[in-house]
Each structure stands twice: as structure tokens, then as C-alpha cells.
């Protein structure tokens, strides 16, 4: 009922892969990246110069945007609220962290295979993917849904946080993995690397956005929206709801894993606090603020909230939790469709207005 009640007739163009919002979002992403690169290339004396630190910060935002996409794919389009997506993000991050550590000193035991980049890249996808596969298979098969699912995902990430805090895990205990120096033979401290990681993150966002867009406009996407709204009905017309959910959950977990892998070299550390339930639930508020069930909304939400966080924690650190908490309350109560909802209501009204104008003119 909450979805687009203002639209009596479906906008057919939104179904196409190359819809206006897809094109616009892609364009904004690409142009934004190019602008940052150009400004970064300007001499430091220039007032327009964008420092490497800022580029790195923007790269970090890109990885958050990826994570938000992952959450939106299953929450917005499938109705599965995961409060544990930080776990997949962190697993991808740890896989990358092991690889980076292996560049300077050999790793013990099984971890030594992480020395090779292709193996590490595979692990970035497989570790979160397999966890999502096993966990999702168990959960969806026995039809754990709604808040129950949310709670057990939270328990999952909490359990993993405890596990990774243990030194016996061989993951650096509570300090986590740090001291990264080289990636693919290049120094992480170099200027080129900062830019390269920024571009890689931006491209990853673009690719993941296209992937999610392709999924959501496909028949599978519509089955998942149908599942979100009337799960039993979908089952009784013959779809295996558990398979649909599992597939999207695994894809989503893998996107989150990639985000974590790109996050680690830019931030320089990965530790168990990434598994903390707070981080995972923060991601949900990015998506909620941006507008779930719209992919560009998730991207926008991640960017806005994290920019706010960067600014505010610098200016008045005590106020940040008040503001974050307030965001949770206000968005759920006043903006259930998020910023994207506001935009499309506004556009819808304007279009209706135009239509009326035209009718009046013709009449």
C-alpha cells in the first residue's frame, strides 16, 4: 500500500533497463568521477584542487554505496531486512586484508593460499557468498521471514564479531588486520594507488548498479517484488520462493563482499568492529533515508549520511549519535519512501500538473 499509491498507472518506461533514472544515475556517477579526477590533477596551488585525502574519502563513500546497493536489492525489492550485512562486507574485507598482509610477510597454514591475487579475489566473492548460501538456505527453507529473519541476521553478525575477536581465529584478534603496504606490486601509499582505488570503487558501483538494475527489471525482479508483497501467492503460482530469495541474498552478499574488499586498502585496517550490529543497522538507515526499492535512492542515501557523518563527527562528535538516532526515527515516521520517494512524488505531481495543463489547453 505504501508503494507509489500516487501512481495509478504504471510508468512503463521504468521497466526498461535503460530507463531515464538509470541513464541519469550512470551519467552522474561517471561525470562525478571524471570531475574528481580532473580536479585532483590540478596543481595543488589551485583553489579547485581536490586533495588525495578527499579522493580516498570519496573512494570509501563508493564502497559504502556498494554496500547500500546490496542491502537495497534484498530489502527494497524482496522485503528481506538484513541486520547483518556488515558481516558480508567484513568477510570480503578480511579476505582482502589477508591478501594484503601476505604481500609483506608469508601467512601461516591455509592462509598462505591468500598470497595469490586471483585466489584472494575469489575468496572476496566466495566467503560472503558461501556464508549467505548456507545461512540463507537454512533460513528461507524453513520460511524464517520478517523480523525473525532480521533478528537472526543480527545474531549472526554478533556471533561472527565474537569469533573474530578471538586470537585463535588467526585474524588478528581484536586489532584485526592492518599494516598493508602493497597491492598487486604497487605501494598503497602512492598517489597513483589512491586514484586507482577510487576509480576501481567507482567502477564497481557502476557495474553493481547495472547488475541490480538488470535484475530488478527482469521477470525475476518482478517475482521478487511479488514475493515481498504476497509471498504465499507467489508460492501458489509455482515459484520456489526460497530459491528466489536465496539467489538474490547470495548476489547481495557478494556485492557487499566486494565493497568490503575495496574498503580495506583505502582505509588501511579491518577489524571485528565491522561485524558490530550497529554498523549493519546503520547501512539500513542509509537505504531508508535514500529510499528503498529505488537503486539510486540507496546510492544517494549512503552518500548523504556518510558525508553528514564525516562533517559532523569532526565538528561536534557528541551530536552524531543524536542525529543518527533522529534520522532513524524521522525517516521511518515522516519519509517512509526516503528522498527518492519525495523526488518521485514531486515529479509525479508535476507530470499530473502538465497533463492537466495540456487537457485544459486542448479543451
Amino acid at each position: 500500500m505504501t508503494t507509489q499509491t500516487f501512481l495509478h498507472e504504471r510508468d512503463r518506461s521504468r521497466q526498461a533497463f535503460l530507463s531515464r533514472s538509470t541513464l541519469l544515475t550512470s551519467l552522474v556517477l561517471i561525470v562525478g568521477m571524471l570531475v574528481v579526477l580532473v580536479l585532483n590533477a590540478l596543481p595543488e596551488s589551485s583553489a579547485w584542487h581536490v586533495s588525495n585525502a578527499t579522493v580516498s574519502l570519496l573512494g570509501k563513500y563508493f564502497t559504502y554505496m556498494l554496500l547500500a546497493l546490496a542491502v537495497d536489492l534484498i530489502w527494497g525489492y524482496l522485503g528481506i531486512l538484513s541486520l547483518g550485512h556488515g558481516a558480508f562486507f567484513a568477510l570480503g574485507g578480511y579476505a582482502m586484508g589477508l591478501y594484503l598482509n601476505a604481500q609483506t610477510s608469508p601467512l601461516p597454514g591455509w592462509q598462505s593460499i591468500m598470497t595469490y591475487f586471483p585466489v584472494a579475489a575469489l575468496a572476496v566473492l566466495l566467503a560472503p557468498g558461501l556464508l549467505a548460501l548456507v545461512f540463507g538456505w537454512l533460513a528461507f527453507r524453513s520460511r524464517v521471514t520478517g523480523v525473525y529473519f532480521s533478528i537472526i541476521t543480527q545474531a549472526l553478525t554478533f556471533a561472527l564479531m565474537l569469533a573474530f575477536n578471538r586470537n585463535e581465529m588467526g585474524m588478528g584478534g581484536s586489532t584485526g588486520l592492518t599494516r598493508f603496504y602493497e597491492l598487486l606490486g604497487f605501494s598503497l601509499a602512492s598517489e597513483g594507488m589512491t586514484v586507482a582505488l577510487f576509480v576501481a570503487s567507482g567502477m564497481a558501483v557502476l557495474l553493481a548498479f547495472w547488475l541490480c538494475q538488470a535484475i530488478t527489471v527482469s521477470r525475476l525482479g518482478r517475482v521478487s517484488v511479488a514475493t515481498r508483497d504476497a509471498e504465499a501467492r507467489v508460492r501458489f503460482i509455482g515459484y520456489r520462493v526460497d530459491h528466489v530469495k536465496l539467489a538474490l541474498f547470495v548476489v547481495s552478499a557478494m556485492i557487499a563482499g566486494v565493497a568490503g574488499a575495496l574498503y580495506v586498502p583505502q582505509v588501511g585496517i579491518i577489524n571485528p568492529s565491522t561485524f558490530a550490529p550497529l554498523f549493519s543497522i546503520e547501512v539500513v538507515v542509509w537505504v531508508a533515508l535514500g529510499g528503498r526499492a529505488t537503486l539510486y535512492g540507496a546510492l544517494l542515501g549512503a552518500l548523504v549520511v556518510n558525508y553528514l557523518k564525516t562533517v559532523l563527527t569532526g565538528v561536534m562528535p557528541d551530536a552524531w549519535l543524536f542525529i543518527l538516532g533522529g534520522l532513524f526515527v524521522l525517516v521511518t515516521m515522516l519519509l517512509p519512501q526516503g528522498i527518492a520517494g519525495v523526488i518521485s512524488t514531486w515529479r509525479g505531481k508535476r507530470r499530473d500538473g502538465e497533463k492537466q495543463d495540456r487537457q485544459e489547453v486542448s479543451a
Binding site: M1, R10, R219, L220, A232, Y239
Partner: protein, 285 residues
């Protein structure tokens, strides 16, 4: 003793069936075998919830192409019976066969749906965030696997089928409207239309005219009568007037088992049925 033996025997038979030894050898949608007459066959089915006997040694046979109405007071077990047939609820004991080949108790909801049993819920359930065409497209018989669904495109044949069904349910003018904004009656028809897209052999329809206006009810009656013959239809309904207008064969359920069976006239003159209903419902209708 006989119960134990028969289930054991069933299991053995199930195990030894040549087409089921290896699951992957079984055709994905083996056709329903109705050579022996009945398309749906319930024998001695019982189920209880926390001591409440919802279904009590129920026997029911539906023939191929039949339109059967099932009536009964509240709590007679009508909806639970549908739950059992569609795989939502597992009976404590008994047998449910679809045709003479498919033991429904070994299958889950999607498998049963894909065999060709469609179900309409009591409360109209359509995908409100999707438009009418999309609702029908999703229900269209065909590939259900995740990967194939991802790559599926609506071809001309499918489009033609959708147009046909839209015509049948009278929603051609609403094809691009969101299902969520349809009227109550339109949602009911859309749901029936979705069942038709599945090309089912057996349609289970739970209270199709609840909350409908008089003209809508007539239209629904016409729709259901037209369907019978092409597929078997089982209608559960409270509204006696409606049942009288469509029914050829009526089954009365009471306290989880069959109380009476026959034509509407036979059944309504049965003193036990009259007693169960206390005449109240009939007069009201």
C-alpha cells in the same frame, strides 16, 4: 495395523516406481493421469491442531472437468482442506492423490502448483505493486527456475495469452493499472485470471464472491461456469444463492468430514444439512 501396513506399502511402491528411482529422470511436469476418472482423490484424511480435529477422516473425489461446490458452516474444515491439497498443511494421516500418478503428500506448494493445481485465496491476493499485465505474466505457465526467470522475455505467444485472459476476466481496459488500485471485485477477477494463466487442471477457489456486489457476482458465476469443462473447478462458498446458481454437484462439509453429497436440491432437502445450518443461512440467501 492396516494403516501402518498401507503406508509402508505406499512407501515401497513410491520407492520402486521406475520413473522415480532417480529424481532427475522424472519429467519436470509429468502429465496428470486421469484415465481412471478422478483428478483429485482424498482418502481418510485427518488433521488436528492442538487437539482440535479440523479434518476428520475426510473422503472426497473430484472428477476431471467437474465443477464442484463445497459448502459448510464456519469451522467445517473447508479452508484446511484446501491447505492440505495445495501442500500448505500436512495431514496427520490419509492420502491425497492428483490423478492416479501424483501423491500430493510428497510434494510442496510450488511443485503442486506446477502440476496444475491453482488456488485462489479467500482474501484477494494480487501483487499490488505490479500492474495487471505483470501479474498475469508472472502467473503464466512456464519456466520457474531462478536463472531462466532472470532471462525470461515476454514473447508474442505469451502476450497473446495474456490478452486472451484479460478478455476472459474483463480487465482489458485496466491492463496497465497497478493491481493495488483495482476495486475489490476486479482484484478477485485478476486473481482468477492469474490462475487461468497457470493453465491448471484443477482450480481451487475459496469464497470468490465474498464482498462482491450483485452484478459482480453474476459475472463471476458466468466466469466459473465457463471454466468448468476445460478444467476441474472446486468452489468453496458461503453464499447459498451463488452456489445454487452455479452448482451441479455439491458437497457439504461438517466438523471435518463429508455430511452430504449430491445436487443442490438433494443436499438442501437433507434433514441433517438443514439441522447443521439451522435453516438460517439458506433463508438469508
Amino acid at each position: 495395523m492396516s494403516v501402518i501396513d498401507s503406508t509402508r506399502f505406499d512407501r515401497l511402491r513410491e520407492f520402486a516406481r521406475p520413473d522415480r528411482v532417480f529424481d532427475f529422470m522424472a519429467p519436470a511436469q509429468s502429465p496428470v493421469d486421469v484415465r481412471h476418472g478422478p483428478i483429485l482423490y482424498l482418502e481418510d484424511v485427518s488433521v488436528s491442531f492442538d487437539g482440535f480435529q479440523a479434518i476428520n477422516r475426510l473422503n472426497l473425489t473430484i472428477d476431471d472437468g467437474e465443477l464442484r461446490c463445497i459448502i459448510g458452516p464456519n469451522g467445517a474444515g473447508k479452508t484446511t482442506m484446501m491447505d492440505i491439497i495445495t501442500g500448505k498443511t500436512r495431514p496427520d494421516h490419509g492420502q491425497v492423490w492428483f490423478g492416479s500418478r501424483h501423491n500430493l503428500l510428497t510434494l510442496d506448494e510450488p511443485q503442486i502448483a506446477n502440476l496444475g493445481i491453482g488456488r485462489k485465496f479467500q482474501k484477494p491476493t494480487v501483487f499490488e505493486a505490479l500492474d495487471v499485465t505483470e501479474n498475469l505474466e508472472l502467473a503464466m505457465a512456464g519456466e520457474r527456475r531462478v536463472w531462466k526467470t532472470l532471462l525470461a522475455r515476454l514473447d508474442h505467444e505469451g502476450q497473446a495469452r495474456i490478452d486472451e485472459v484479460l478478455e476472459t476476466i474483463g480487465l482489458s481496459g485496466e491492463r496497465y493499472r497497478l493491481a493495488g488500485v483495482l476495486s475489490h471485485g476486479q482484484k478477485q477477477w485478476l486473481e482468477i485470471g492469474m490462475l487461468l494463466m497457470q493453465r491448471p487442471r484443477l482450480l481451487l477457489v475459496d469464497e470468490p464472491v465474498a464482498g462482491m456486489t450483485e452484478p459482480e457476482m453474476h459475472r463471476t458465476a458466468a466466469l466459473l461456469t465457463r471454466l468448468a469443462g476445460q478444467q476441474s473447478v472446486v468452489v468453496v462458498e458461503h453464499d447459498m444463492g451463488f452456489v445454487r446458481s452455479i452448482a451441479r454437484q455439491v458437497t457439504v462439509l461438517h466438523q471435518g468430514s463429508v455430511l452430504a453429497e449430491g445436487t443442490m436440491d438433494d443436499v438442501s432437502s437433507d434433514p441433517r444439512v438443514v439441522e447443521v445450518y439451522l435453516g438460517g443461512d439458506e433463508e438469508a440467501a
